[in-house]
């Protein structure tokens, strides 16, 4: 029976392998030492195995797997130092405690023993009573070390699984120490567990580095914790970018200064991905992959916010597939789902193509090209959010295109299927200021459209609907007008105020609509400017006017200037210089006989740019006049910087010339100033002889208006000039 003490020792010291008594391997070439130690070791509860030299020790080590080794230093064949080296290099022997026996006065051996991996040492002659206690102590520390190692391994393992690392930044020395997982995540070599804070930051991309550095230095300064997330760019192609969260708390010295930041680092990529997946499930329709109602609501609220800030418009299209239920009932739900998918695909495609339709309000601000959203919000109900539109016609155009595209046949299970869609449209801000109201009104509009017959669209507001239709149709009609020769130029003569002689003609655009009759340029020019149609239209006017004047001169008319009105859009978006150049070279008209009339709005955005354009025009040799002068911002100061020839005073000033002293003063001043700048002045809209008399008294150079002549067709004008007698007109004027 073991003594109580033996029992206790056995329990404490028994190795984890299940052996009842720990095994001690005693290595010594002195048989007497082995003998003397054996007894006390066995009494203390150990099993003892012997070896007489290093080579034997290695064999015994392999076969007995001892829990502890007592190793004599100096032995024949292989000494203790070499034996330790072999044992330590073996995975099994990495942690086994080794007690080295050295000579009492042999300091070198003691040092060498520790270098080779000995756990402890004892000097000869051995005190065999003390020996078991020393060994028990060593085994106990071994158990503690094992427990610590195991705990560390568990922690490391847990951290690896949780992708959680920890770190410690010494703010004072800038030294950074970290755990294995931190090192793994950041791509440090496996055994490197320390470096510098800056070295760590160097591993981040520029913008990420900035935000982490800011968060950390702020935490140090304010002595508080921080939490920051950053993206770790992948180190190799095989990896993916990781999302990392750093969290830390400050540690302070006695002065309350932050000396360390200690914290965790967690790779939350998977969690973030999972959140994204959950988000997708919550915000996207499973059948079509389109955003669902929840996602639409977010987009809609975002669109509202942006539109309010920018004071811009957007449209909401509410779609319902006509007779979808029939497809579902006759072909089955799978076929129905298939159809919904195909419809979604076409919708997305149409809306994507429509991006170019809706020109962003500010082309430099890419956010202003607010995303269009196609969402499925119910069985056969879809909503299209056109995030940014300039004109209501844009919404009408998209709706029309959608209706047309959706109605094209589908092939489902080898069967040809057709569906149509009915669309209701609500507009922000006209039809509502909230998401609920806009949705409701689009829905209402859709029911109106259904009442009117399916496969169509309807705006919520009847006024807008008609306006959109009218403008929409005008747009397409205008496109055809040039080809159908519905557009024509008429010419209004200008006269010298003093001599009464014709001084020039102004070409004016007329649209004779086959149904609606004459349409004023004031109605269709803005539309042409919005749609870009002004470019071909403007070219056509230039060419036509130049050719006409050349024809008249060829027919024997005295050469006078031909004025053509040009839109700022032609200058800003088109290539006006080239158009003018071509019109002159193709017609053969001397360039000084072409007078380009511009409005001040050309200089509104960028005066330098405007001046550059005018200088290029002057190089061609054409005359330049500023039209409608006085109605725009009319800065007299910039006038002298412009390379222009003429000022045209707007008819609104001329109209009240005899009644309003203010207008008279303005006209007088404009004329005086213009002359001062060597510019000649033309008065527009002169209707009475009284107005002409006043203009003459102000030294105005030219005038035009109904007093002399209304606009005439090309044929009329030549005849009119031939019969025109300035003397008669002059007499008539002075006779009043």
């Amino acid at each position: 029976m073991p003594s109580p003490q033996e029992k206790y020792q056995a329990q404490v010291l028994a190795p984890s392998s299940g052996r009842l008594r720990p095994v001690v391997l005693h290595v010594d070439d002195d048989a007497a030492s082995l003998l003397m130690a054996e007894g006390s070791l066995e009494d203390a509860g150990f099993d003892v195995v012997h070896a007489a030299d290093g080579v034997q020790a290695l064999q015994q080590f392999k076969t007995c797997e001892p829990d502890l080794i007592i190793m004599d230093a100096v032995m024949p064949v292989m000494d203790g130092f070499e034996a330790i080296t072999h044992i330590r290099s073996n995975a099994m022997g990495a942690h086994v405690p080794i007690l080295m026996i050295t000579g009492l006065d042999d300091l070198d051996s003691i040092t060498r023993a520790y270098d080779e991996g000995a756990t402890d040492f004892l000097t000869k002659p051995i005190n065999f009573f003390v020996l078991p206690h020393r060994i028990q102590y060593m085994l106990r520390s071994k158990r503690t070390a094992d427990a610590l190692r195991s705990s560390q391994a568990k922690l490391d393992n847990a951290q690896r699984i949780a992708r959680l690392g920890h770190w410690d930044w010494n703010v004072v020395t800038n030294e950074l120490t970290w755990s294995n997982e931190f090192g793994r995540t950041m791509g440090y070599p496996q055994n490197q567990l320390m470096g510098s804070w800056n070295g760590f930051l160097e591993k981040l991309s520029d913008d990420q580095r900035h935000s982490v550095r800011m968060a950390a230095s702020q935490a140090v300064e304010e002595v508080r914790g921080f939490s920051v997330e950053f993206t770790l760019i992948k180190f190799s192609e095989a990896e993916q970018d990781r999302t990392i969260r750093l969290e830390a708390e400050p540690h302070v010295n006695e002065q309350g200064e932050c000396t360390h930041l200690r914290g965790t680092m967690q790779d939350i990529t998977e969690r973030t991905n999972a959140q994204r997946q959950i988000h997708n499930l919550a915000y996207f329709d499973l059948v079509t992959g389109l955003p669902n109602r929840a996602q639409l609501n977010e987009q809609l609220n975002y669109a509202l916010k942006m539109a309010k800030r920018r004071e811009s418009k957007f449209a909401l299209l509410f779609l319902d597939l006509d007779h979808f239920k029939q497809v579902n009932d006759t072909l089955g739900h799978d076929a129905g789902d298939d159809l919904l998918k195909q419809v979604s695909g076409r919708l997305t495609e149409v809306v994507r193509e429509s991006d170019s339709v809706a020109v962003p309000a500010d082309p430099l601000d890419e956010n202003s090209n607010s995303k269009h959203t196609v969402a499925r919000i119910g069985g056969d109900e879809f909503v299209v959010l056109l995030g940014s539109i300039n004109r209501v016609e844009d919404a009408a155009r998209v709706a029309e295109r959608i209706a047309k595209t959706i109605s094209l046949p589908y092939t489902i299970n080898d069967t040809e299927v057709s569906v149509t869609t009915t669309i209701g449209i609500s507009l922000y801000p006209a039809d509502g200021q909230s998401a609920e109201l806009l949705m409701k009104h689009a829905d209402v509009a859709m029911y109106h459209a259904k009442e009117k017959g399916r496969n169509g669209y309807q705006f919520y507001s009847r006024g807008i609907h008609e306006q959109a239709l009218a403008r929409f149709s005008m747009e397409s009609e205008l496109k055809n007008a040039i080809e159908n020769e519905e557009l024509d130029l008429v010419y209004q003569p200008k006269f010298d105020v003093v001599s009464g002689q014709p001084a020039g003609v102004e070409a004016l655009l007329r649209w004779d609509h086959p149904v609606n009759g004459a349409i004023s340029p004031a109605d269709f020019i803005p539309l042409a400017e919005e749609t870009g149609l002004i470019m071909p239209l403007g070219r056509w006017v230039l060419q036509q006017a130049c050719r006409q004047m050349k024809d008249w001169i060829d027919d024997g008319m005295e050469p006078i200037a031909m004025s053509v009105n040009c839109s700022p859009v032609q200058f800003i978006r088109g290539n006006m210089i080239k158009d003018v150049d071509e019109a002159i070279s193709q017609s053969g008209l001397p360039s000084n006989l072409l007078e380009v009339e511009l409005t001040e709005s050309l200089f509104l955005q960028n005066i330098e740019n405007g001046i550059n354009i005018l200088q290029s025009l002057k190089k061609i040799g054409v005359q330049i006049s500023i039209d409608d002068f006085g109605t725009g911002f009319s800065s007299l100061s910039y006038l002298k910087r412009l390379p222009i020839d003429k000022i045209k005073i707007d008819h609104s000033f001329v109209q009240d010339l005899s009644r309003d002293p203010g207008d008279a003063a303005i006209v007088s001043a404009i004329i005086a100033l213009s002359h001062n700048l060597n510019l000649s002045v033309v008065a527009e809209g002169v209707e009475t002889a009284e107005q002409l008399d006043i203009l003459r008294s102000y030294d105005c150079d030219e005038y035009q208006g109904f007093l002399a002549s209304e606009p005439l067709s090309a044929g009329e004008l030549l005849t009119w000039f031939e019969s025109y007698k300035p003397e008669v007109r002059m007499r008539k004027v002075s006779g009043m």
């Binding site: 002195d30 007497a32 030492s33 007894g39 100096v74 024949p76 000579g103 000869k124 002659p125 065999f128």
Partner: protein
């Protein structure tokens, strides 16, 4: 001739004796008696041939085995020889080995006597 062995060392060995087990002191003295003559001759031969390494190893071995048995002077002498051999002092080794065999013989004789008396 009774002053070669420190008796307290032998008592220490005896105190390691466990009941019912073979006589420990007897076995160790037997081991000493059988192994040591070879070591002593090895030292003496090495001194004559100038083989310092063999001398050092043999002296080291004798140093500890004699120390355990309380043969203090013998152990001291071996320790000095080992030291001189390590330092490469052939002449000193020669001088130190003087009387080694005699001291060994005397120590062994005294040991044997003590063991027999105890038995």
């Amino acid at each position: 001739m009774t002053n070669h062995i420190d008796k307290s060392a032998l008592q220490a060995i005896s105190s390691l004796q466990r009941p019912g087990k073979p006589d420990l002191l007897g076995r160790i003295v037997d081991l000493f008696a059988s192994d040591s003559p070879a070591s002593i001759s090895a030292i003496v031969e090495a001194v004559e041939s100038g083989d310092l390494e063999s001398m050092r190893v043999a002296a080291h071995s004798m140093k500890s085995s004699s120390a355990y048995l309380g043969a203090s002077r013998l152990s001291e002498q071996c320790r000095n020889i080992e030291q001189a051999a390590r330092e490469g002092s052939e002449l000193e080794c020669f001088a130190l080995a003087e009387g080694l065999e005699e001291e060994f013989e005397a120590s062994l004789a005294e040991l044997m006597q003590i063991v027999e008396r105890a038995a």
